[in-house]
Point group: C2
């Protein structure tokens, strides 16, 4: 499928990410519609020109008219939606998503849609600390990663179309990972960091600590303001990979504690030098 | 002692912090001199007008002429310097420092100087990832905390003068903590966060991970680029407090892991809500 200005894109779930997709795609001149739970979110999106049409029901006409459907729901809600309404999707429609975890989602949805409709999964690695369509802003895609996670059921054409969508949305880097590689990577880079931030905030409630905080502590806990409904579901959906990363982190952290306890200065310095050298790889590339 | 434009301030140790003190104080019109190890650092500071005089030796005249001496050395080097050269300091001179840990330093230095010279300790909570006088920049003091840690040996006059110095340097918040409160606070807010950042960098060396990193991981590991000589010494100097914070963190982190393992979604959500609420306290105040 080629994406052109006649392409009709249906977004299911109008939160921060779904809303940001709607704004970006409407600005680029595509026909965007939505299905989302709250009537006021539909009105909000219509009033701002984010969508041309919207419904709070799984409207068969909206679904049948879509060339591309983007699911921007929480993983379990997404799977449930496809189970109940997947038969309304027409055969030529390409289905994609924005789920932050893949192994618990991709195979199930592909199984539900069978050979009739192709589902190619993607993860736009962007977001905001606040939730709701009123915080939608496609600026969060600039400089961010968009990862396509094909399985052996996917066609080269669908993979290309899905990548093209990422480029239209404004992502800086478009890449491909297997479902399993993706979930291990997310378990470490994203989920483990959120667990650490939350744990830092809950492990010490000495009154007045905030008066002395500096930028280091603020940086490590920025993501401790967290959407508990979404992240608890994402953690459980990726339980095996996240547990493995947590155990590895505890092991390494405990080894450092043992070096400190033994006043093993050279051992700690070696870890710090390794950390300093490796962190350089993760520096943000200069834009422009 | 009143600090006025005739006040002569000697800085011992011209690194990032000592250098930033020198720039800030010279700009404000005070007489600044320095004693530091490397001849090229003295030349650098003289050429840029950061100091009026400088020496690489514990020059008795520079020391005797100082109204205020600021030690900006690593803790162990500071204690050693006072042990060897403390007798050169004249009785009316006020001695202060910038050490990031206090219990291993303050009592020892006060003991060495006895009742002859007053030492009032302070911690400017600011710094940079790079070390060396060429990275000195008093801008790092803006919006930052300056903490005075008096003991029962200190006079109200010295405490006031030390706070006045913090205001002149441009710190936003000047406060007082006991030596022990300070070290517990630092163990948590600063040292534990550095151990976590280092551990995150060293616990997973999967090739190519950096291609997928987002801002969350970058934020949590910014301080993983670390001066290994300085921080290993600071950790050991504050071993008891840091070990206590590390153990508390491991306990809380392991409890979270157990909730995840049990798919205890409500337990994790409760921690996340606690974390979200508490993090709000730590938001940066708007400046201006």
């Amino acid at each position: 499928m080629m994406i052109d200005k006649d392409t009709r894109i249906l977004i299911v779930g109008l939160g921060v990410i779904g809303g940001s997709y709607a704004i970006a795609l409407s600005r680029e001149g595509y026909h965007v519609s939505c299905i989302t739970k709250e009537p006021e979110d539909v009105r909000y999106a219509l009033a701002r020109g984010m969508i041309e049409e919207g419904s709070t029901d799984p409207d068969p006409t909206l679904i049948a008219n879509a060339d591309i459907i983007v699911f921007a729901l929480y993983p379990a809600t997404f799977v449930e939606w496809v189970r109940e309404n997947g038969h309304l999707i027409k055969e030529t429609t390409l289905v994609t998503d924005v789920s932050g975890v893949k192994s618990g989602v991709v195979y199930t949805v592909q199984e539900l849609l069978g050979d009739r409709v192709e589902f190619i999964s993607a993860h736009p690695m962007a977001g905001r600390e606040r939730s709701g369509v009123e915080f939608a802003d496609p600026e969060v895609f600039r400089g961010a990663n968009y990862i396509v996670t094909p399985t052996e059921r996917n066609t080269p054409e669908a993979i290309q179309t899905c990548k093209e969508l990422g480029r239209i949305l404004g992502f800086a880097k478009i890449s491909e990972l297997s479902v399993e590689e993706h979930d291990r990577m997310i378990g470490f880079l994203s989920q483990l960091t959120h667990v650490i931030a939350v744990t830092l905030m809950t492990s010490n409630d000495t009154p007045g600590l905030e008066k002395y905080t500096g930028d280091s502590f603020r940086d490590l806990t920025r993501i401790a303001k967290i959407n508990d409904a979404m992240w608890s579901e994402l953690f459980i959906s990726n339980k095996a990979a996240l547990l493995a990363e947590m155990d590895r982190f505890i092991g390494e952290f405990s080894a450092f504690r043992d070096m400190l306890r033994a006043s093993d200065r050279e051992g700690m310095r070696e870890k710090m030098r390794e950390s300093t050298a490796r962190r350089t790889l993760f520096d943000k590339p200069k834009i422009g």
